[in-house]
Amino acid sequence: MTDSGEEKLLNVSEIQHFSTGDGPGIRTTVFVKGCNLHCPWCHNPETVSPLPQKLVFSGSGKTVIYGRKMSAEAVAAEVLEDREFYGADGGLTVSGGEPMLQADAVSGLMRILERDGIRTVIDTAACVPWEKFAPLLGRVQTFLVDYKTSSDETYAGQIGGDRETVIDNIRRLIGAGETVRVRVPLIPGVNTSDTDASLMCGQLAKAGVKTVDLLPFHRLGSAKYTAMGKEYAYAGISPPDAETVSRLRSIFAGYFDCFVE
């Protein structure tokens, strides 16, 4: 870790105002660029590579460049524009991509916003060394932590991460007194079996988790894959049907406060 100016810049993919699905209240979500995982169902594929990317949308003919280095001050200024809307519970969400890969820069951004009493939600897959969380502890409104499957193999293979690290981080965050909300994407063929659900519940409950959001898979990201000139492995996969969602929900609801987004 260096302290150079470059390190303090945020690698931003996109800033979204009036986010209503990424934490309480009205929020502004900063999607950062760069992820250490490679979930094949990822709906924000442009956030995976840290490099700037040009997407050409065939339908509208629009070209959008994702990825720009922004100073914490510049990002904060845009976030602060909406301050009146945040009220007591709204604020900033940093999502991605993996925000924890830019924890120092995120911390710098948070420091500016904290002066104005604006609080931050971190949306992370938590597959990073525990030390990465250090600068953020005690300052985050809620950690939204992805938990994708109970299977070590799937984590290691398809996703490209280490499940133990994730569950360990969840446990430590809770242990450190952080507010944690786990988010489970429901991916057909990956984690929608009753067995996987029950195993996940056991693992999460053991880690001390109290609240789980279920996020049914959707393929809204397919246009982005096309615009990147990439195949989307999940282009042909339909979202889980309502019955599957409610079945899984009832399993999770046996352990946690469970919501379907």
Partner: protein
């Protein structure tokens, strides 16, 4: 059977189906009116004055058509009896007869009016007749006043006899029923009882009050009027509602059913082609400035949701102390895909109206007529408005050398400089704006002169409105027609300012390219406009990437602020022919499309013939940073300058209206109103919209769909993804 039972056993859907049954013949109120004139001359009553003749014709118009009652009616009054199959000869004859008695039309104060229902509910028809008789006595030495009062009395008798005819009709239908104790019979008894009571006394129950209001409204339909508002129904009917509820005679469910049963008949307008816009206003503050939301407000809201058709145009007034619960219920109804109620900010509308010197108590009692026009019920002549296109004067300044020369001359006279007709000789944006203002000042004067010429009929003593005048404050006391000194306040005119987004974006583009970056000369922009940007790709690219209104960017938002203030100030200087005010509005309805269709390309990159920006909204698709930025921009202008009202349209996908999410919308609206937003009309993108957007992507460039952590422009998504979203929304629709 009690009303609660009758109401619960009456199916609104069945009534809606009955109403939708097509009607043969044509809507011909003028034939009945002509018949009235014919009968008069047959009787040889040619010596009567014009107001009395008009009233006699209205009497015939109200009483000649045989009443019509739907099987599922709880509250009666239909326009079906006015449909007739006429021969060409009959039509010609009616036209000839009525041509001697020309009526007012929208431009000369005929409709878009909210009656004073409060007084007639208190007095009833007999009480109102007594009042007329009393003032006839007082004005007995004034022949004209006595005549006007006589004409009002005749018209009111028409209403009373029409109610009597409805009571008789119900009785005769009842006598033909085999089952005299079934629900059909109960409904007819209910109608008979209510209609009859109203002929002899003031309404005694909520249902009778509603029946009276509806029969009056339906008489306005008989007169051929359009966009007649019901106004603050949750206020003027509340005393009867409360009395019945307290006495255990009524429940909120039954009241809702009665109101829905009434509102469904607004949709009868479709029988004659096209919806009516009957504005109904709920919520807000009372004349003392205190929260006026009451249990009836919720019933009306639910009733409009139940009817779920355009026609009942619901407006909800929101004040800082309006309960969140009420706003939340409004959002629930909006979320059904209905798009109503429109939300109106009391904190802006009240100060805006106060600028015109009305009594504060009257202003706090404002409602709307037509789409959104602010109106003081029963205290002003019917509403008139027109369209003012500031962009036309920008085009003139740029494209017409004579206009540029003459405005430079005027500016030069002030500055002591020489006049020029060379656009490139303009040295600064400041100077450019001064020239534009000169053009606008001239335009406003021209507009006002023209409006006054049209509105002011030369023979107001002949062109009376005896029936309408019965429901306007002070007409009886003064013995004057509503359009000839009778109403409490003088006439007003609303000038609908078009294209705030188009104008602001155009000015920002000129400022940036010509005066800040100096990348293009004004003459080059003018050439591109003349060529409709053909062959000027780089320039068009440059104007399109200039700042756009709606992104919380002061470099362009300042022009919207200027536009609102400067134009309203200018209009404020003028008076209507009888001393009333000229209000401004930014509420295009769809006239931004017409306005744009005749206009050439504009400096913001808009191509010739394309629509102008809509109402007070940014140019469609140009507010790219999300709704918070849009609201931050759109709340910058000071709308207390726009006494008529403004419209900002916003679309949200159905998930935004779910439990747990609605509170975010609520907060968004509260902040927007707190910042001085005047109005917002929220649409839930119903399944219908989503399907339509799949078929016509060009019309929905900025339709956003949201899921957690993700939002996308709907029309950029692949077909199967759009279908996924459609299936997600299924359960959100009612």
């Amino acid at each position: 059977m009690r009303i609660t039972d009758i109401a619960s056993r009456t199916d609104i859907e069945a009534l809606k189906r009955e109403i939708a049954v097509p009607q043969s013949g044509e809507f011909r109120p003028e034939w009945f009116r002509a018949e009235g004139y014919r009968r008069l001359s047959e009787k040889g009553e040619n010596g009567l004055t014009m107001p009395v003749k008009r009233a006699e014709a209205i009497y015939t118009l109200f009483t000649l058509p045989e009443p019509f009652i739907y099987e599922n009616d709880l509250i009666a009054g239909s326009i079906r009896p006015l449909f007739k199959v006429l021969t060409d000869e009959q039509k010609a004859e009616a036209a000839e007869l009525t041509s001697h008695y020309p009526e007012r039309w929208f431009g000369t104060h005929s409709d878009h009016f909210a009656p004073d229902y409060k007084t007639v509910l208190e007095l009833g028809i007999p009480g109102l007749q007594n009042k007329i008789a009393r003032y006839k006595e007082i004005h007995r030495s004034d022949a004209k006043a006595a005549d006007i009062l006589e004409s009002m009395s005749i018209a009111l008798r028409g209403l009373s006899d029409r109610l009597k005819a409805y009571a008789e009709k119900a009785a005769s239908m009842l006598s033909k029923l085999a089952d005299r104790s079934g629900i059909e019979a109960q409904r007819l008894r209910f109608i008979r009882e209510n209609c009859y009571t109203l002929t002899v006394s003031a309404p005694k129950t909520f249902a009778q009050g509603l029946q009276l209001v509806w029969m009056i409204h339906s008489c306005f339909m008989y007169e051929g009027r359009y966009a007649m508002a019901l106004g603050r129904i949750d206020q003027y009917l509340y005393p009867l509602f409360k009395k019945d509820i307290d006495a255990g005679e009524l429940t909120e469910e039954a009241a809702t059913a009665l109101v829905a049963n009434t509102f469904a008949k607004i949709c009868e307008a479709r029988l004659r082609g096209g919806d009516d816009v009957v504005n109904i206003c709920i919520g807000g503050v009372d004349p003392d400035g205190k929260n006026a939301v009451n249990p009836l407000s919720f019933c009306v809201l639910k009733a409009v949701g139940t009817v779920n058709l355009p026609g009942p145009n619901l407006s909800a007034r929101i004040a800082p102390d309006t309960p969140d619960k009420f706003l939340d219920e409004c959002l629930k109804v909006i979320g059904t895909g209905l798009g109503y109620p429109a939300l109106m900010n009391d904190s802006v509308n009240i100060p805006a109206l106060l600028r015109y010197g009305y009594d504060e108590k009257d202003v706090r009692n404002y409602c709307m007529v037509g789409c959104i026009e602010n109106f003081l019920p029963g205290q002003q002549p019917p509403w008139v408005d027109g369209r003012f296109d500031p962009i036309v004067y920008l085009e003139k300044l740029l494209l017409d050398r004579d206009s540029l020369r003459s405005s430079s001359e005027e500016l030069g006279l002030k500055n002591g400089q020489d006049a020029t007709d060379d656009p490139d000789a303009i040295t600064s944006m400041d100077e450019f704006m001064k020239l534009y203002e000169i053009m606008l000042v001239r335009g406003v004067k021209e507009y006002v002169d023209n409006a006054n010429r049209i509105m002011h009929v030369p023979d107001p003593e002949d062109k009376t409105s005896p029936f309408l005048s019965c429901f306007a404050e002070l007409c009886i006391e003064r013995g004057q027609d509503i359009n000839n000194g009778g109403s409490k306040y003088p006439s007003v005119h609303g000038a609908a300012l078009m294209g705030v987004g188009t104008v602001s974006d155009s000015l920002a583009a000129i400022e940036k390219l010509v005066f800040t970056d100096r990348t293009y000369k004004l003459s080059e922009i003018i050439r591109a406009m003349r060529d409709n940007f053909e062959g000027h790709d780089a320039l068009r690219e440059a104007v399109l990437s200039a700042p756009k209104y709606g992104n919380n960017d002061d470099t362009v938002d300042k022009y919207a602020v200027w536009y609102t203030k400067r134009l309203s100030d200018e209009f404020f200087k003028y008076r209507t022919y009888d001393g009333g005010g000229f209000y401004t509005a930014m509420a295009a309805n769809i006239s931004n499309i017409y306005a744009g269709s005749t206009l050439g390309a504009t400096p913001d990159g808009r191509l010739a013939g394309k629509p102008l920006s809509d109402a007070a909204s940014p140019t469609y698709g140009c507010d790219r940073r999300g709704v918070t930025s849009t609201f931050l921009s759109v709340s910058k202008p000071d709308y207390t300058n726009c006494a008529c009202g403004t419209v900002v349209n916003q679309k949200f996908d159905p998930s935004a209206f779910r439990d747990g999410k609605r509170e975010k919308l609520l907060r968004l609206i509260r902040v927007y109103f707190n910042r001085g937003g005047q109005e917002v009309q929220i649409n839930s993108t119903s399944r219908r919209t989503l399907i339509d957007a799949m078929e016509h992507p060009d019309e929905y460039p900025s339709l956003v769909v949201r899921v957690s952590g993700f939002s996308a422009i709907y029309v950029t998504l692949a077909k199967e993804v759009q279908l996924d979203i459609l299936s997600r929304t299924q359960h959100d629709d009612l």
